[in-house]
């Protein structure tokens, strides 16, 4: 699968800003370099999480559209 992750956060079924908040909590717990994937069925989160990642200074590995949800993969950079 494209964009393998060390940790997967399944936020499907949750609405904005649920998926983002879950990602932020997880990022805080992990070490720099960890790759995290957020699963979100919420289209606005798929758009907004990459914006957040940029602003917060992490690396966006990719946004992958799966069957009925998005998989947003990021690498903790700082």
């Amino acid at each position: 699968m494209q964009g393998e992750a060390d940790r997967v956060i399944d936020a499907r079924g949750s609405y904005c800003p649920g998926p983002l908040m879950e990602l932020i909590k997880a990022i805080k717990e992990e070490d720099v370099g960890t790759v995290l994937a957020v699963l979100s069925s919420d289209a606005s989160s798929a758009k907004d999480i990459p914006e957040w990642v940029k602003k917060a200074g992490h690396e966006l590995v990719g946004v992958f559209e799966e069957d009925g949800y998005w998989r947003i993969v990021i690498r903790k950079s700082r």
């Binding site: 904005c16 800003p17 983002l20 908040m21 932020i24 909590k25 805080k28 957040w52 602003k55 917060a56």
Partner: protein, 129 residues
Amino acid sequence: MGKLAMVLASGELEKLQAASIIASVASTVGMEVLLFATMDGLMAFRKDVVEEKAWKTGELGKGMLEKNAPLFIDTLKQAKEVGNIKIYACGMVMDMLGLKKEDFVDIFDDVLGVTAFLGMVEGAQVLFI
């Protein structure tokens, strides 16, 4: 990254939801965020109101409750865990109605008067909701 302050004066669920999302996300990207809940905006945090989900809502707010969207209180609590955000209750309204900090959900950092809040928000962008 700057400073964002919001005065929450409305008890309408839709406004509180929007404010909480903006405030929370701002707090996680390096902004210092200060919220001041007053008037109906403070009443929305009362324990009995929260337990009964008795907020003033329009059609959209009803839909949000039905769909179990994250509530403004939960969004703000999460933001406090990960971001730089402080939430204050208006002392004037509490004095007037004889309410105590315990009458509200456990979210406030302190009870403040307007002068103290104005001192804190110096140099901040202030939004009134």
